[in-house]
């Protein structure tokens, strides 16, 4: 069970190595442009080498002082993350404001507000008010979708 905590340094190390490998694929510039300075790949590689050194320190610290076990996330958290995906799907297929309304309603409900009318009011009034503020005051145009097409014409 305790070995699972080493997932963090292992993940970070793999990430750093992946970045180094990707950086090595970058184009190189001619000497006359770069001069005495660095190639585009040098700085990210340098950073990831530092990161690998720090990760090895972190692993040593884990070895000396074992960190507290991290509790698993609860349903509400996972569901909220799932709502981000749902929001993405609704935004690209229907409208950003439909996405916001649906996600606000579901979020309020799963977070414990069981009164439907409160959730519905919150999910409709808030995005509506923000839309009016941004559209009239800040003159921001929102991405086209089912609702915004009706509004913008």
């Amino acid at each position: 069970m305790q070995k699972k905590l080493y997932i963090t340094p292992i993940f970070l190390a793999l990430f750093s190595i992946a970045i180094i490998l990707i950086s090595l694929q970058f184009d190189t510039s001619p000497e006359m442009i770069v001069g005495d300075s660095m190639q585009a790949r040098t700085f990210p590689i340098f950073l990831m080498v530092i990161n690998l050194i720090l990760i090895s320190f972190l692993s040593l610290q884990f070895f000396k002082n074992y960190p507290k076990r991290i509790e698993l996330e609860i349903f509400t958290t996972w569901f909220t993350i799932f709502l981000f995906l749902l929001f993405y799907f609704l935004t690209i297929t229907t409208d950003m404001f439909i996405g916001i309304t649906v996600c606000m309603f579901l979020m309020g409900y799963t977070w414990g507000e069981k009164r439907l009318w409160v959730n519905i009011c919150n999910a409709i009034i808030t995005p509506g008010a923000i839309f009016i503020l941004f559209d009239y005051v800040l003159k921001i145009r929102f991405p086209r979708g089912i609702l915004t097409n009706i509004y913008y014409g």
Partner: protein
């Protein structure tokens, strides 16, 4: 003289006064809502400042900063839950005093200490910032490179997370700044064919994700939390006896808070903890600490608000944020076309001092509101989380979109929200990532320019006295505690 008249102009501009008044109310509301701190509030409000004049926009952000930092103490005292991390030390004595039926007295001391701390730090800001700007004129790329390294090394001592974890976060943030086309050669880095990333990651959606959305996910674990409040009749100003007891503590903590705020990457949270522990160390009544000591409240509150003015010094003069919130203010400056640095103090003196004047006014405003409306604001903290956080979600999504009107920014905010959440769950603070992202471009460009200056001989940076000084400071900051530990171990 120009400086003073610029500062005074804030107090005679009805629009700015009204704006600061409204923002102070908003800042206090943000501060009393557990989870919604100054940083999250500033990140969420940044898009709303888009159409404002630079002074008004920065006044809004800095008012949120000072008022939310203070307001965290209201919930810290009344419900034992710090509204912001900077008020965590206030709970140690604020809540026990409130439990004794002296909530009004505790809040009165918090309000007065915060105001004195805040005003003190703004006076220091007005004096120190132009002086530092004069020194910063002499800075060339090697000095700036060394300074940013020093700033990054200070991340090791941010209170949340461990030193190593904070540094990893900082390096990750610097790496994020490399996404996009490289400045000199225009070679694409980590764009994966997405040309919207050509100019690099936009700061605002990343910050909204790291601070607001990740906090929302953290709060999703506390939906069943039941909050118990302590009754509050009225907020009382400290008595003469109280003042006699705490004036030294307030002054000491104001100094400590301002100094810690000035240090790059250190913020109000560290300041309040040190302010509290120093108050205890110097107190004649140490036994009262933890049981409702007014010195404890004054020590923590004066320090955390003093840090707000201090943190603006490196932000405005050097472009190095003094805390997570000042990182957002720095982005606000850039969005409104103000380039932080020494030249800001010669080319836009009026603007700079109007910003300082706004911060000063905000301090007086929150003092008045803290004294007369704390009871009302305390009730705001009882807004049900299932109603509040969906609103934060909507504000985050639309705020991320608004800056560049790009849907990609929404996805960036959501992705960084999830990254920030899992980072926090595994003990990594998100502020180092934000600071790293801001400093990243400075580090790389100044290193490139230094290498050009010295024909590719990087070690020549060490021959520049100021650069060497900052690098030695960075080294001591990183390795000092370990070296000290080894030496004391050998002596033992």
């Amino acid at each position: 003289m120009v400086e003073l008249s610029a500062m005074a102009s804030v107090f005679t501009d009805p629009y700015l006064i009204a704006l600061i008044f409204a923002t102070t109310i908003l800042g206090i509301i943000i501060g009393v809502l557990p989870g919604l701190g100054a940083t999250t509030g500033a990140a969420l409000l940044l898009p709303f400042t888009l159409t404002m004049e630079p002074v008004q926009a920065i006044a809004v952000l800095s008012t949120i900063y000072v008022s939310a930092t203070f307001a965290g103490s209201i919930t810290a005292i009344l419900i034992n839950t710090p509204g912001t991390s900077a008020s965590a030390a206030t709970t140690f004595d604020g809540y026990p005093l409130a439990q004794k039926g002296e909530a009004g007295r505790a809040l009165g001391i918090a309000v007065v200490s915060s105001t004195i701390g805040g005003v003190f730090s703004i006076i220091v800001l007005c004096i120190a910032a132009p002086l530092l700007a004069r020194v910063a004129y002499e800075f060339r790329p090697p000095e700036y490179f060394a300074l940013t390294i020093f700033g990054l090394s200070m991340l090791a001592s941010i209170s949340a997370g461990g030193a190593t974890k904070n540094l990893i976060g900082g390096v990750f943030g610097v790496w994020l700044s490399t996404i996009g086309a490289e400045r000199v050669t225009n070679i694409e880095r980590f764009m994966f064919g997405n040309y919207e990333l050509y100019e690099g990651l936009s700061f605002v959606p990343v910050f909204i994700g790291l601070f607001a959305i990740s906090e929302m996910l953290v709060q999703s674990k506390t939906v069943n939390l039941i909050i118990e409040t302590v009754a509050l009749k009225a907020v009382k100003l400290p008595t003469k006896e109280d003042y006699k007891k705490i004036w030294k503590t307030i002054l000491r903590s104001s100094g400590i808070g301002t100094f810690i705020g000035i240090l790059p990457a250190e913020g109000a949270t560290v300041a309040s903890m040190i302010g509290y522990s120093e108050a205890r160390r110097w107190s004649k009544n140490k036994e009262e600490f933890g049981k409702g000591s007014i010195e404890g409240i004054a020590g923590a509150e004066a320090a955390n608000n003093a840090a707000t003015g201090g943190a603006m010094v490196p932000t405005m003069v050097l472009g190095i944020p003094g805390s997570g919130t000042t990182a957002i203010i720095l982005v606000g400056l850039m969005v409104h076309g103000l380039r932080p640095g020494a030249y800001l103090f010669t080319e836009q003196v009026d603007t700079v001092y109007q910003i300082f004047g706004s911060m000063l006014l905000a301090n007086f405003m929150f003092m008045a509101m803290g004294l007369y409306a704390a009871k009302l604001f305390a009730r705001v903290s009882l807004i049900p989380r299932p109603m509040l956080w969906p609103i934060v979600f909507a504000l985050s999504v639309i705020g991320a979109y608004a800056i560049q009107q790009s849907t990609l920014d929404i996805w960036i905010a959501l992705i960084f929200g999830v990254i920030g959440f899992f980072a926090r769950r595994h003990g990594f603070a998100v502020a180092p990532i934000a600071v790293g992202l801001i400093l990243g471009e400075m580090v790389e460009s100044n290193l490139q320019n230094s290498l050009k200056m010295f024909d590719g001989q990087w070690w020549m940076i060490l021959t520049q006295p100021l650069a060497a000084f900052f690098l030695v400071l960075a080294f001591l900051g990183l390795c000092g505690p370990y070296i000290y530990g080894v030496i004391t171990k050998q002596k033992d």
